[in-house]
């Protein structure tokens, strides 16, 4: 520590300069206290809750062991939610990565005025997901929504965005991609800007075309950023709740009920707190397992490998 600790109060608080332990605890203490109160305690409390049959009407929850988890495994609604979560994560991340990389390549051309468009492109990320959901619900309204109106002006029949079970999950993926593709773009674009140019010059000298250059040089070198963005987006998409709440409220016919929404329903609509906690912990287990697998088995190769 470089600040002066000559006064008695300062010495009392921060300790002796040669023994910074008190200083460390003093500075880290509030942060640790915050984490304990708002993260660690709730984590363990909800774990305990998942082993009880606590409901709003029941009052005190009785210990039931792993019964909630056993019930989950045979609950078709849980598997429906898990299926929807898997579809959303897979489609959303794939679409966002493809679009994000394409946008990064496009803006790497440094066309005139692209900095303005780049700024506008980032705006969706700044909007809270619940607002995005409500906004798009209005835009996609079949009676007076702007999107259907524009489509019908071209003589086309608008799809049943939020009324068809199959289409609703696609709509959810599209809206999520509208909001979060810029995130992938930023990550990939930053990496693209930092790539060494001599590799590309050498490839050019060797006569490599643009597609070969992209496939054999650019893409592998972007892979760390792509994996990073994919993992982040996968975790986020898996946890997504407020977008679903505002856009489709889990419907129609549970077509967009993901695990996070399912947990919300059980906890806040049906007041089955024990069961909802079990759903939430099952999400944690799935996330932990999934990210471990991705990071363990996805090989990130650098240039020359």
């Amino acid at each position: 520590m470089s600040f002066a600790m000559t006064s008695a109060p300062a010495k009392f608080v921060f300790g002796k300069p040669e023994n910074p332990r008190r200083t460390v605890w003093f500075l880290l203490g509030p942060c640790i206290a915050y984490l304990i109160v708002f993260s660690i305690y709730p984590l363990f409390h909800s774990l305990r809750l998942s082993f009880t049959d606590l409901t709003a009407a029941g009052g005190t929850g009785n210990w039931i062991g792993l019964k909630n988890y056993a019930d989950l495994l045979v609950d078709p609604l849980f598997w429906n939610a898990a299926r929807n979560s898997a579809i959303m994560v897979t489609l959303a991340v794939a679409l966002q990565v493809v679009l994000g990389v394409a946008l990064a390549m496009f803006f790497n051309l440094h066309l005139r005025g692209s900095w303005i468009v780049r700024g506008i492109l980032l705006l969706p990320m700044l909007i809270p997901p619940i607002v995005v959901g409500v906004m798009w619900r209005a835009l996609l309204n079949p009676d007076w929504g702007l999107v259907d109106w524009i489509i019908s002006r071209f003589g086309l029949t608008p799809p049943d965005w939020l009324g068809s079970v199959d289409m609703a999950i696609v709509t959810l993926v599209l809206v999520d991609s509208w909001q979060w593709t810029p995130f992938v773009f930023i990550i990939v674009f930053a990496r693209l800007q930092a790539l060494p140019q001599d590799v590309f010059e050498a490839a050019n000298v060797d006569g490599a075309g643009s597609w070969v250059t992209f496939r054999r040089i650019t893409l592998p070198m972007l892979m760390p950023a792509i994996v990073f963005a994919s993992v982040f987006r996968a975790v986020d998409a898996f946890r997504s709740f407020d977008l679903i709440y505002g856009l489709s409220y889990g419907g129609p016919a549970r077509g967009t009920t993901t695990l996070s929404f399912f947990a919300f329903q059980n906890g806040f609509q049906f007041q089955n707190y024990g069961y909802a906690a079990a759903v939430a912990y099952s999400m944690l287990i799935i996330l932990a397992g999934g990210t471990t697998v991705i990071l363990r088995y996805v090989h990130i190769r650098g240039p020359g490998q």
Binding site: A57, G163, V165, P252, Q265, Q271
Partner: protein
């Protein structure tokens, strides 16, 4: 005292009297101005001390989805002037209200002294012991104005949100009162376009066959023959399906939770038939009716795009609002259709207001006083007059001035008086059951399954939920 002193004394005395008179006149003028502006006359006993808790600050949690909070905002200055108390109102949407209420009721101390709860949640919230028993306040003449009259509240509304027997955990039974109907009650009535029916030579539907026939005849490119809640929405099951179900002889549950034989009859012939009736009128409903919730139907009807529907009587507000509705003077109301030989009736809706048991003890009596003000005859009349909100009191429904102004009131009163408290609201799993039903029925309306399959699925889901909860062996 000489003459000058006497004269000075007299002048001072006269000046003081004049000041007193002027103060009294100012106070009278202010009060009259406040009362006159809002058109509500003071209906409280002159001998009753409304200001006994003056200076107390109270907090009220209530729904923001309907117009009650607007009526309250209008009359807040009057409330403060007459009681000397201040009332801070929080009015979120229904979903957020339920979540927040449960958190508050389970906290060490509630930050709200008054909470409005949905009638469907009476068993869940009142039954869990979260609310103060109100009999002690009702029977105390020092705390309850003489003309407040508990007996004036609609009996079905009192059964829905007021009476609760803690021993048997049964709503609507016993003598203990935990909630007061407010700020509105209500049921479901039939709305129809008088002009369209007259032009087509039709009479308002009294049976479901007539309803369907009228829908077919009146259906056009500009106006749908009928509408209903077709989305995965709370009211799909409770309004459109349930009304058709009970008016065709259906009985939703047999047995009781207490005897653990609470068995559903969703896939009975009446249950399947009620859903089939909705499927049968799909061709005469708006194109996107399977996505229609509360707001879409109200908007559709008030903009003249729907010829008839059964709906919560509370929508009379926007429908008969001459400023916003295109059909205010073209709309007629009546009892819901019913099968021949059946009584037209629908589900009992409405809200109750109570004092959380964990509220600040020092403020509970003040909270009760505020509650009586908010559920008074004067306030109820104002709500109906200004916003056409469903009344909670029999006297309000029968008020000659209101009836002359709003001809739908007798239909609303009849509906509210004969309304059916849906049996599943007696158990905490009500919303879970409702959700299971809405999902399958919405899927049937979308065409992904037929009515029988949907009802069979709901029956199975309900039995699983009821068995898990211990209401069914």
């Amino acid at each position: 005292m000489d003459d000058n002193d006497q004269s000075e004394s007299s002048r001072k005395s006269l000046a003081a009297n004049r000041r007193d008179v002027l103060r009294a006149m100012a106070a009278l003028g202010l009060t009259t101005g406040v009362l006159g502006r809002y058109g509500v006359s003071a209906a409280f006993g002159a001998d009753f001390d409304w200001k006994k808790f003056a200076g107390t600050k109270l907090s009220l949690l209530m729904t923001g989805d309907e117009n009650d909070h607007r009526a309250l905002a209008d009359l807040m200055p009057q409330f403060e002037a007459e009681t000397g108390m201040t009332l801070e109102v929080t009015s979120p949407a229904l979903g957020a209200l339920i979540e927040k209420t449960l958190q508050l009721l389970q906290a060490a101390q509630s930050s709200f002294e008054l909470i409005e709860f949905l009638g469907f949640l009476t068993t869940q919230q009142v039954g869990a012991g979260y609310y103060e028993q109100l009999n002690q306040y009702i029977d105390d003449p020092a705390l309850t104005a003489p003309d407040w009259e508990i007996g004036d509240f609609l009996p079905p509304a009192m059964s829905n949100v007021g009476y609760f027997d803690m021993a048997t955990k049964t709503v609507g039974k016993g003598k203990d009162i935990y909630g007061i109907p407010g700020m509105h009650s209500g049921s479901v009535i039939y709305f129809y376009r008088k002009d369209l029916f007259d032009a087509a030579g039709l009479k308002p539907a009294t049976t479901w066959d007539e309803f369907k026939a009228a829908a077919e005849k009146l259906n056009s490119a500009d106006v749908a023959g009928c509408s209903f809640i077709g989305a995965n929405d709370f009211s799909l099951a409770t309004v459109d399906w349930y009304t058709r179900f009970i008016t065709t002889g259906g009985k939703l549950m047999s047995g009781s939770p207490q005897t653990k034989d609470f068995k559903p009859n969703v896939n009975s012939p009446e249950g399947i038939g009620a859903l089939q009736m909705l499927i049968d009128v799909l061709p005469y409903a708006p194109k996107n009716v399977t996505k229609y919730g509360f707001a879409e139907n109200v908007d559709g009807f008030s903009t003249g795009k729907i010829a008839q529907m059964v709906f919560w009587s509370t929508i009379a507000g926007p429908i008969f609002n001459t400023e916003n509705s295109m059909v205010a003077d073209k709309t007629g109301t009546g009892p819901v259709p019913a099968a021949p030989g059946q009584t037209p009736r629908a589900i009992q809706g409405g809200w109750g207001m109570g004092i959380p048991k964990n509220a600040d003890p020092a403020k509970k009596q003040a909270a009760w006083l505020a509650l009586t003000w908010l559920t008074s005859k004067a306030f109820n009349k104002y709500e109906v007059d200004k916003y056409q909100i469903d009344a909670s009191r029999t006297s309000t429904f029968n008020d000659p001035e209101l009836v002359a102004k709003f001809p739908y009131l007798p239909d609303s009163l009849k509906a509210a008086s004969t309304a059916d408290v849906i049996p599943t609201s007696h158990i905490p799993e009500f919303f879970q059951l409702n959700d299971a039903m809405n999902v399958e029925f919405n899927a049937a309306l979308l065409g992904t399954q037929d009515a029988k399959t949907a009802c069979d699925k709901v029956q199975a889901a309900w039995e699983a939920i009821l068995k898990k909860a211990g209401h069914m062996a």
